[in-house]
């Protein structure tokens, strides 16, 4: 049995302390595994993603990342363990230049330019962006921006990824590219949770499936 990387125990949450968005959430995501959280718009999927990341804190219950309560962790600590791709990847692109986008944070933290550049090169190849090195980031297509945002997250070497609606705006070819990248990451031992309503995308992976409706898990499946 795989160890849980992320766990939720009886988590409840309401944005305005009145209407519960999440009720009695219990779930476990194992290290190196794939989980899909599916449900209609407004069911609470993104809220679950944010709770897992510690971006918002549960009103009751607890969320543990490798045994640590998210209430005791700051965002930097959570981010070093779990990478989070927002629904709009443009919020996560901070520079006009691809290399700078990937290396400015490691350099800010004192990493050597050369090792940061090597890591950036590797990720640009993995994310199929090596031919876009000279393109300003804001001229990239939506799918390319998304992959750049993922590359930026992976520079921090997290061992788990949460992707919120990653297939929005992607055509089939770009979805296939994303599928192949996620499969490579799974092979390398990175755990992945995808929050989506895209059944066709999820059907390419095997792992855990959580169906969410009105803030509750109504169905759990193994694919």
């Amino acid at each position: 049995m795989l160890l849980a990387f992320i766990e939720a125990h009886d988590v409840c949450f309401a944005y305005d302390k009145k209407t519960a968005v999440i009720t009695g959430l219990d779930m476990k995501m194992a290290a190196g595994s794939f989980t899909a959280i599916m449900g209609p718009n407004g069911s609470g999927k993104t809220t679950i993603g944010k709770l897992m990341m510690g971006i918002i804190r549960p009103d009751s219950g607890k969320i543990l990342i490798e045994g640590d309560d998210t209430r005791q962790l700051d965002l930097g600590q959570t981010g070093s363990k779990i990478g989070y791709l927002f629904q709009n990847p443009e919020f996560q692109i901070f520079s006009h230049n691809l290399y700078d986008e990937l290396t400015f944070i490691p350099r800010l933290k004192g990493a050597e330019e050369k090792s940061a550049a090597l890591q950036a090169d590797r990720l640009l190849r993995l994310l199929q962006l090596e031919d876009k090195k000279d393109v300003p980031t804001f001229s990239l297509s939506y799918g390319e921006k998304q992959r750049l945002a993922i590359a930026g997250i992976l520079m921090g070497r997290p061992r788990y990824l949460i992707l919120d609606e990653p297939t929005t705006g992607l055509d089939m070819v770009r979805k296939n590219i994303l599928i192949s990248i996620l499969m490579k990451l799974l092979d390398e031992g990175t755990g992945i949770t995808v929050i989506t309503h895209d059944h066709r995308f999820v059907s390419h992976f095997s792992g855990q499936l959580l169906q969410i409706k009105e803030g509750r898990i109504i169905e759990t499946g193994i694919k």
Binding site: P40, N41, S141, Y142, D171, M172, V173, N176, S203, H204
Partner: protein, 239 residues
């Protein structure tokens, strides 16, 4: 017989010296059909939409040759407000096309701009909210609606100008399955009213209501068999 929309030898590039995004398109669009235009991201589908509804050349510039004829008149020579009463467009992102305090205000916005009488505006609001099934949300704030409901408000707001042609530029891509079904029902209702709907899509799952499917690649259009559209865009058939 004058067709609602005709395209003759259309070519377009955004900047001089760059490749043509549209490279010789001829198309006749009759009334009362659901057309789908498919293609990969960046193939020029949205650019073609913009040419059809007058955004190019009236809002966005570029180098355009050929003609887009709206009920026999050249779109390039018509004023955009006039084109909007014949060809409407619903965009992908509901949040940047809804900007009014209430659903009623949103639907009234277009007719108000055309200086219609208050009673005409009221009639159009009633009709359009009935078509999209959102009468009970008349005084709701659009930002509190679901994604599917927002797109329905956007459709109602565009239909309030009574265009004969409605272009939907990837309008279903951010919507969940329940919302998509509601929007498709609305599209079919509009078709039964004699309207033409042009759906620009890259998701083959949204083709089920299309009467004809065209594939856009290399700046050109070709009609494809609806049932084989997935193969045409290179659908990955699994690991």
């Amino acid at each position: 017989m004058i067709k609602p929309l005709e395209i003759r030898g259309l070519c377009f590039r955004y900047e001089a010296g760059t490749p043509r995004i549209i490279d010789g398109i001829d198309l006749d669009i009759p009334g009362g059909e659901v057309f789908s235009i498919m293609g990969l991201s960046g193939c020029g589908k949205t650019t073609l939409c913009y040419c059809m509804c007058g955004i190019i050349p009236h809002v966005y510039g570029g180098y355009m040759s050929g003609d887009v004829l709206v009920f026999g008149e050249r779109a390039a020579e018509m004023r955009l407000p006039v084109i909007s009463t014949k060809v409407g467009i619903v965009f992908q992102d509901p949040d940047t096309q809804l900007f009014s305090p209430t659903v009623e205000d949103e639907v009234a916005f277009g007719p108000e701009n055309l200086c219609l009488s208050r009673s005409d505006i009221g009639t159009r609001i009633d009709e359009c909210l009935e078509i999209v099934g959102l009468r009970r949300y008349r005084l709701s704030h659009p930002e509190r609606l679901s994604g599917g409901e927002k797109q329905l408000v956007a459709i109602a707001s565009v239909m309030a100008l009574r265009p004969e042609i409605l272009i939907m530029d990837e309008s279903l891509s951010q919507i969940d399955s329940e919302g998509r079904e509601r929007i498709k029902e609305t599209i079919l209702k509009l078709r039964s009213m004699g309207k033409t709907i042009i759906m620009v899509e890259h998701d083959i799952d949204n083709l089920d209501i299309a009467d004809r499917v065209f594939l856009m690649e290399n700046g050109r259009l070709r009609q494809v068999d609806k049932d084989r559209a997935g193969d045409a865009v290179g659908l990955y058939r699994g690991t």
